[in-house]
């Protein structure tokens, strides 16, 4: 447990004293600002809006494809260095010769990534504050939307951590992660392509867009949560085994 906290703190510190987190934060907020602005101006030009749709629902739900595209860039870039850098520079040797378990190394690093991910999202709460000036905001829906985003981030970052442990090259880790997560995303798009059947159901089930559409309406579908949790735990479990396997390299 000591090891977990020490690694978590070191990882967070390293993320935020180097430019990476700040660059990602800036790029992310510029993109989100542009998306949010166009959604809000679209709604502002509409004379009448039904109860179910509003800028927030559109941003987190129907138009979530934009938001997910930015996540497909930000998450792999955030996780690419987490193990690859330590192995390239050799600091992993100093790290693994202390009395820490591979589990706390992986969890500590992952928790720091997830915290950074949450911190990158935090400024977007201002959008809600801005909307509140001109209308009513359903805080339950806001909460479930962010929960959905956290679930997607948890899954993406877990896969990214695994890919980073697979290679010493940050670039290879980045490309592998993008490939994997883009594949997962495209699988979700299958919902709109395939004829009704098992395969379409499967696509609908793993769809990130589907998840955001549900969560942005305030529907907390437990199956979605279980899916995110499964992907995250599986990724972290395999990462732990990979870290363990370095002893036999």
């Amino acid at each position: 447990m000591n090891g977990f906290l020490a690694i978590y703190r070191r990882e967070l510190l390293s993320l935020w004293v180097t430019p990476l987190a700040w660059v990602l934060l800036t790029v992310f907020l510029l993109l989100q600002g542009a998306i949010f602005y166009s959604i809000v101006s679209h709604f502002a030009s509409m004379p009448d809006v039904s109860v179910d749709t509003g800028p927030l629902q559109a941003y987190f739900g129907q138009e979530s494809i934009f938001l997910l595209m930015t996540l497909l860039l930000v998450c792999p870039a955030l996780s690419m260095r987490v193990f690859a850098e330590e192995r390239r520079s050799g600091t992993i040797e100093a790290l693994l010769t202390t009395p820490v378990t591979p589990g706390s190394v992986v969890l500590g690093k992952y928790a720091a990534l997830l915290t950074t991910y949450a911190l990158i999202w935090a400024p977007t709460l201002l959008y809600v504050v801005i909307l509140r000036k001109t209308g009513v905001v359903d805080w339950g829906v806001v909460g479930s939307s962010y929960l959905g985003l956290l679930g997607i981030g948890a899954a993406y970052l877990s896969l990214g951590t695994l890919m980073s442990a697979m290679t010493k090259s940050q670039l290879v880790a980045l490309l592998l992660t993008i490939f994997l997560e883009f594949g997962l995303f495209i699988l979700g798009v299958g919902e709109y392509i395939f004829d009704p059947g098992v395969f379409r159901d499967l696509c609908a089930h793993v769809s990130m867009m589907g998840q955001m559409e549900d969560f942005s309406k305030g529907i907390l579908d437990l199956r979605r949560v279980v899916f995110d949790g499964t992907v995250s735990s599986l990724g972290l479990f395999v990462t732990t085994r990979v870290v363990d396997s370095w002893r036999w390299g």
Binding site: R9, G90, E93, A94, T97, T98, P99, G249
Partner: protein, 327 residues
């Protein structure tokens, strides 16, 4: 403190360490010697718990590294080769991180870090970013890291690699200062380093043990002892006088420019002959031949010679063993 028995480590087809056994007692400073690629780093990585052994047993401070890895790692301060550090952190932040990892008690962390920085001579660099430090200072930060939890055993992989002569001297004297209660195992391919800091040496080549013992014992292993003789030899009869004595061999000679009768001869005394008797007969033979002896200097074999003799010998005999390698 360290017990290694029949340690073997292979990387797939390449055997880096083969059936290696040795032990290090409490309080010793032991040099772990070998040419590059002999398997030194691999062995130390196994001892530190970074790599798993293919077969064989390693006990650190009484804990088997396979059965009680965390207890074994708690007992040792390990400094990896080339001292890898996080360049973005400050020295103090890095040592704080390391102290936490090594389970230094929270209320003792500050004192432990201050003490380690003091010992390693980086106290005045506490708030410098590691990336801005010179190689010598980074090496010292890594040393401070090895010391921070005050472990009874230090394993240092090439602690002076890449340092300038002044820094090497400083690191060596630091290592000597650390001796006493602490046990130190340090690897190097520089022999003078072992002669300067260690009491005992373990020599490996191609992953196998070739010699082990106190530095003086190892020096004594050189069978051919050497003698340097400066003479005034007007008749040039020195060669004949030497070859007349059994067990003596003239290995080289030179004359002073402008004074050909003043000569310097290097003689090797062979095998198990008593050196005193041979020297006496040499002096007698020279006096009888009318050669004036100016100086008679026994040359002790340097560890350098012992080392090259040992490793060359080994190569001749294990022609079919695979070369060791470091990943």
């Amino acid at each position: 403190m360290i017990e290694v028995s029949n340690l073997t480590k292979d990387y797939g087809t390449v055997v880096a360490v083969r059936e290696l056994s040795f032990s290090v007692e409490k309080g010793e400073i032991v040099g772990f010697l070998g040419p590059n690629g002999a398997g030194k780093s691999t062995t130390l990585r196994v001892l530190s718990g970074f790599l798993g052994a293919t077969s064989g047993r390693v006990r650190i401070a009484g804990h088997d590294i396979a059965e009680a890895p965390r207890a074994a790692r708690r007992a040792l301060g390990y400094m990896p080769e080339s001292a890898p550090l996080y360049p973005e952190l400050r020295v103090f932040e890095y040592l704080q991180f390391r102290a936490r990892l090594k389970e230094v008690r929270r209320d003792k962390q500050r004192a432990a870090i201050a003490h380690a920085m003091e010992r390693a001579g980086v106290a005045h660099m506490a708030s410098t970013v590691i990336g801005h430090l010179s190689k010598g200072y980074r090496q010292r930060v890594a040393l401070a890291d090895a010391l921070v939890a005050d472990p009874p055993l230090l394993i240092l992989d090439e602690p002076t690699a890449g340092l300038d002569p002044n820094q090497i001297r400083e690191v060596r004297s630091l290592i000597k200062d650390l001796a006493g209660e602490r046990t130190i195992l340090l690897s190097t391919h520089i022999l003078s380093e072992v002669e300067a800091t260690c009491e005992r040496a373990i020599v490996i080549d191609r992953g196998q043990l070739v010699a082990e013992g106190r530095i003086e014992e190892l020096r004594g292993r050189q069978k051919a002892r050497r003698l340097c003789v400066r003479v005034r030899d007007p008749n040039g009869g020195a060669e004949a006088a030497i070859s007349a004595i059994s067990g003596l061999r003239l290995s080289s000679f030179s004359s002073e420019p402008g004074a050909p009768e003043r000569r310097t001869l290097h003689v090797s005394l062979h095998e198990e002959l008593a050196a005193e008797a041979v020297i006496e007969s040499l002096v007698r033979a020279f006096t009888e031949a009318g050669i004036g002896i100016h100086a008679l200097i026994p040359e002790q074999a340097s560890l350098e010679q012992v080392f090259s003799a040992l490793t060359a010998h080994e190569k001749a005999h294990t022609g079919k063993s695979e070369p060791g390698s470091t990943p």
